[in-house]
């Protein structure tokens, strides 16, 4: 009845299914054996994850001493670079609940009663166990130096430690770290991030990172760290920490001293075996709970895994072996056969941007092997490889300053691969031959371990690609978990995907998304040939499903590159920025950027910008592209603001679109005593020529009046520099995260030729580049590279120059100011409201803070 004349959209099907499920679980009674885990660190978390994946026959109870669920300690330092505790979390609390795991946080276990098989916690819980897992990790080792209890002395292990350091560092000027190992150097880096200038690093041993690298490697590392502002003291033993209540100095055994207001101690780790000792489990003399190959302690229903476990006299202070131990323990509980037989301690890390790696046996020396060493203090690179005396096998090595070959070298050691006749090529790079194309990874044996954190073999990855047809990195991550932990193996995983697709003869193309099985170039061609004008038509004929946030803007950009229609008419297929013709900013307001061609502006226009910004309470800033950006506009105000701008002679700056941004110019020959030609006029002419044209990504240009290059034209997609005889044209430069210099396309050409070449270049780019690919990347990926591109543009080698020029002229002729269109059309104007049912009302949740007398957006919550 109700449904007769009305349509109701309601998710009831899902509703009912959930209900049935709920009924089912409630009726189930549980008599499952209880697995109790002490500690909720990284390894504990991995144990839970692996156990629930393998079996649902256990009741899982976890006690954690920290107040947070397990987090990523390996990336702890990123807490100082803006990652929140939540970002570092391995999984949110709901994950435990959803998987039926009982998690008690803030409640350390204080006693194990092995006779009754119970544990007793601080908060008074008495919990029975059938199996007990010790995953208590370790704590920072604090040496017995008089004064360690003073204020301002910290360790570096938990988020709480970092909070304390953060608070204290605000008032500290000089700081030091005791310990020049992996963690100590990381702590020193953190101090720099906290604004401490030139922190000291105090190391007792004669070299840095004594467990990983040798004396020569340490020297190279020390040289580089000195350049970065660390003050390193080797062979130093600290005898006393000075100061009343607060630390104010470090005194050394050699009677020297330094002044510091803060100290981080990072002198090693101590396994947390106190509970094990109390309950009479066997522990090592230097700490650690003794375990067998199945991770069982001296009591066979109690296991120890991670940094608290002592296996064959060894504590493993890295996460990957901990994960392997978790896997072994899970297998033992589930009655499958798996044992732990030690773990490779090869490591690769980036210390303050410096690569450091050691693999296999880094320290083995003559006469047990032969070592090849490359020590280049000019480039700051040190490499050492140790090969067997018969020259056949690689045994280990050290890399400082450049560890790009780490993965291959490690695999060569692990798989006992026979070395080539000139093993020095391994570290010098084979001279003269072409670069590694991924065939390297493909030549490894199938059981080669590619991801050591998650122990995924090459065979498993190939299987996923070939049998399960997973061809994306994300897909492989989901299916095999390779690359999800430290990420070090990602380049190799990519090579393997590409390599095995190639092997199976599959043509690898970059399809746009699940809805369009075409590359951007192919789609552009079919849309053009079939004269498609709207998104839905394209989806009906050439796609499937209902589209998404990836293909909609791509198709919209293709459509406007082809037909240059009014963007707002197809608003909802546009990226949010294109839909409102403005850039959405933090807090949900928009920014307004009128075009200021070539960066030239009259005093009157400057005044008007100031008046408008004042009237609508906008924050103003000068952009890198020589124009003025106004932030903080409510969506409701946009049409009014633009009406005033247009009345004053401004037009849209297309800062919101994947389109030409600006053509930056220097002042050139009109004022500058060095100027050869009028760079400003040329920049204005070019900016007005290409304004508004949509492209796969944003485009920037620059024009300089002489070689001094004040407009930085060589960092732009196209850059023009005046010469005695005319202009030099450079293309495919890029600033941003991966800066790349533009390359010379043609020299000493006149203005007309220059414009002709840019027409061809831009149009060719628009037609052939993948979505969101800047010209630099487009060129880097192009087969044949610059030589090919030069041939196309200068020599018309594929006979399309005529067509490119005509198409570009078509776009130039159909230019319109998108904002003018909106301002003069009441229907379009109506779209610029926050509430459709209360058009006058602005979003009440928008708030600003005041900041240096202007406004700024409220911080992310």
């Amino acid at each position: 009845m109700l449904l007769n004349t009305e349509i109701i959209y309601y998710k009831s099907h899902i509703y009912i299914l959930f209900d049935l499920n709920a009924l089912k679980t409630e009726n189930m009674t549980t008599t499952k054996p209880a697995v109790v885990i002490i500690g909720n660190g990284m390894v504990s978390y991995k144990f839970c994850e692996k156990l629930i994946a393998k079996s649902s026959n256990f009741e899982i109870i976890v006690f954690g001493e920290e107040s947070r669920p397990a987090y990523d300690r390996v990336h702890l330092s990123e807490y100082f670079n803006g990652k929140s505790a939540e970002d570092l979390s391995m999984s949110p609390l709901t994950w435990y609940a959803d998987n039926g795991i009982h998690l008690h946080l803030n409640d350390p276990v204080q006693e194990i009663n092995r006779e009754e098989k119970t544990v007793h916690t601080l908060k008074g819980i008495n919990q029975h166990y059938d199996y007990l897992i010790l995953a208590t990790g370790s704590s920072a080792f604090v040496p017995d130096i008089p004064g360690v209890e003073k204020q301002g002395v910290f360790v570096y292990r938990t988020i709480e430690d970092l909070d304390l350091i953060l608070a204290y560092a605000a008032n500290a000027k000089e700081a030091a770290v005791i310990g020049g190992g992996l963690l100590g150097l990381e702590a020193a880096k953190a101090l720099i991030d906290l604004g401490i200038k030139e922190p000291h690093v105090i190391e007792f041993a004669p070299r840095l990172m004594p467990r990983q690298i040798d004396q020569a490697g340490s020297k190279m590392l020390q040289m580089k760290l000195n350049e970065l502002g660390l003050r390193i003291h080797l062979n130093k033993s600290t005898s006393r920490i000075g100061g009343e209540d607060k630390i104010d100095a470090l005194h050394f055994a050699d009677d020297t001293q330094i002044h510091v207001d803060m100290l981080i101690i990072s002198a090693g780790i101590r396994p947390r075996d106190e509970l094990a000792q109390l309950s009479g489990l066997k522990t090592g003399t230097r700490g650690g709970v003794v375990v067998n190959d199945y991770m069982q302690t001296s009591d066979e229903s109690i296991f120890a895994i991670g940094e608290c476990a002592l296996h064959e006299g060894m504590i493993y202070g890295l996460v990957a072996p901990g994960y392997e131990m978790a896997d072994v323990a899970v297998n033992t509980l589930c009655d499958s056969e798996k044992s732990f037989s030690g773990y490779d301690m090869s490591t690769k890390l980036k210390l303050i941007g410096i690569d450091v790696a050691s693999f296999g046996d880094p320290f083995i020396a003559e006469p047990d092997c032969r070592s090849i060493v490359m020590d280049d203090s000019h480039k700051g690179v040190y490499k050492r490889i140790n090969i067997s005396n018969d020259g056949k096998h690689l045994l280990g090595g050290i890399l400082v300053g450049d560890a790009t070959s780490y993965n291959m070298l490690l695999q060569t050691v692990k798989n006992n691969i026979i070395l080539p006749p000139n093993p020095e090529d391994l570290i010098l790079g084979s001279r003269g031959e072409s670069a590694n194309d991924g065939s390297g990874a493909m030549s490894l044996p199938d059981d080669a371990l590619i991801c050591s954190c998650e122990s995924v073999s090459k065979g498993a990855i190939l299987h996923a690609v070939k049998e399960d047809h997973i061809t994306t990195l994300d897909g492989i991550k989901k299916c095999t978990k390779a690359g999800t932990c430290c990420g070090g193996c990602v380049p190799m995983v990519k090579d393997l995907i590409a390599g095995s697709l190639k092997e199976s003869g599959i043509y690898v193309k970059n399809v746009i998304c699940e809805h369009f099985n075409y590359s951007r170039q192919e789609l552009l061609d079919v849309i053009k040939i079939n004269n498609v004008k709207i998104y839905d038509e394209a989806l009906d004929h050439f796609g499937k499903g209902d589209g998404c946030e990836t293909c909609k803007p791509v198709v919209a950009s293709i459509l406007s590159s082809l037909w240059n229609d009014v963007i707002v008419k197809q608003a909802p297929t546009q990226d949010s920025n294109d839909r409102y013709l403005a850039n959405i900013q933090k807090g949900g307001t928009y920014s307004v950027v009128p075009r200021i061609p070539g960066g030239e502006i009259t005093p009157d226009k400057l005044i008007i910008l100031g008046q408008i910004a004042k009237k609508y309470a906008l924050y103003t800033k000068i952009t890198g592209g020589q124009r003025i950006d106004m932030f903080g506009a409510h969506v409701n105000d946009l049409p009014d603001i633009w009406e005033e701008l247009i009345d004053a002679g401004f037009e849209s700056g297309h800062a919101y679109g994947k389109a030409l941004r600006t053509v930056k110019s220097c002042v050139g020959s009109t004022w500058c005593r060095f100027g050869l030609h009028d760079s400003v006029s040329f920049a204005i002419e070019i900016e007005e020529r290409y304004r508004g044209i949509r492209a796969p990504h944003k485009i920037k240009g620059g024009v300089s009046g002489c070689v001094r290059e004040c407009a930085e034209a060589q960092s732009k997609d196209f850059g023009i520099i005046a010469t005695e005889k005319g202009w030099n044209l450079y293309i495919c430069g890029n600033g941003g995260s991966k800066p790349q210099h533009a390359q010379l396309l043609a020299s000493d050409i006149d203005k007309e030729t220059c414009i002709k070449y840019i027409d061809r270049f831009l149009m060719f780019y628009i037609k052939t580049a993948d979505p969101l690919t800047r010209t630099a990347t487009w060129l880097n990926k192009m087969e044949g590279g610059l030589t090919y591109l030069k041939n196309v543009i200068l020599n018309d080698s594929i006979e399309i120059c005529g067509q490119l020029e005509t198409e570009m002229q078509g776009l130039v002729d159909s230019f319109h100011c998108e904002w003018k269109e909106v301002v003069t059309n009441p229907e379009l104007r109506k779209r610029f409201v926050h509430f459709v049912n209360a058009p006058e009302k602005k979003d009440p949740t928008v708030e600003f803070d005041t900041f240096r007398t202007q406004i700024k957006a409220k911080d992310w919550l």
């Binding site: 349509i7 959209y9 209900d19 209902d546 909802p572 839909r579 949900g588 459709v836 979003d843 919550l861």
Partner: protein
């Protein structure tokens, strides 16, 4: 598939419908934001599927009032309808409200009813 119309109708009976806007107020294949007693609700006119959806306007990722300005589309073989937040492109199912970008967020969804060109949102 089991469809229990009884439960559907019972649920339906407990819903209070309020008039949100007219059909043409929401752009085709796009969204708009509705003010309901101080609460912000995003409403989507999925013209391509001849369907309507409503969700909270707040994106749980960084607490931005933005979902109504996001792009809608579908995911997977089952064509699950979804919306992508314009800020960092987290996507949410328009049916279940679950985040499909691997995060543990769920957004509120609301039933929508059309009658004689008017659009109603159901509040429970």
């Amino acid at each position: 598939m089991i469809i229990n119309t009884d439960i559907e109708l019972q649920a339906e009976a407990s819903i209070e419908w309020f008039l949100a806007c007219n059909e043409e107020d929401v752009p085709e294949n796009g969204g708009a934001c509705i003010d309901y007693k101080g609460e912000q609700i995003a409403i989507f006119n999925f013209t391509r599927r001849k369907e309507w959806y409503a969700t909270q306007n707040l994106c749980p990722h960084k607490q931005q009032m933005a979902l109504s300005r996001g792009m809608i589309g579908s995911a997977g073989e089952s064509c699950e309808p979804k919306v992508a937040c314009p800020f960092h492109k987290k996507t949410f199912s328009l049916l279940s409200g679950e985040c499909a970008s691997g995060e543990d967020y769920t957004i509120k969804t609301y039933p929508v009813k059309l009658s004689a060109g008017q659009v109603f949102i159901g509040i429970q």
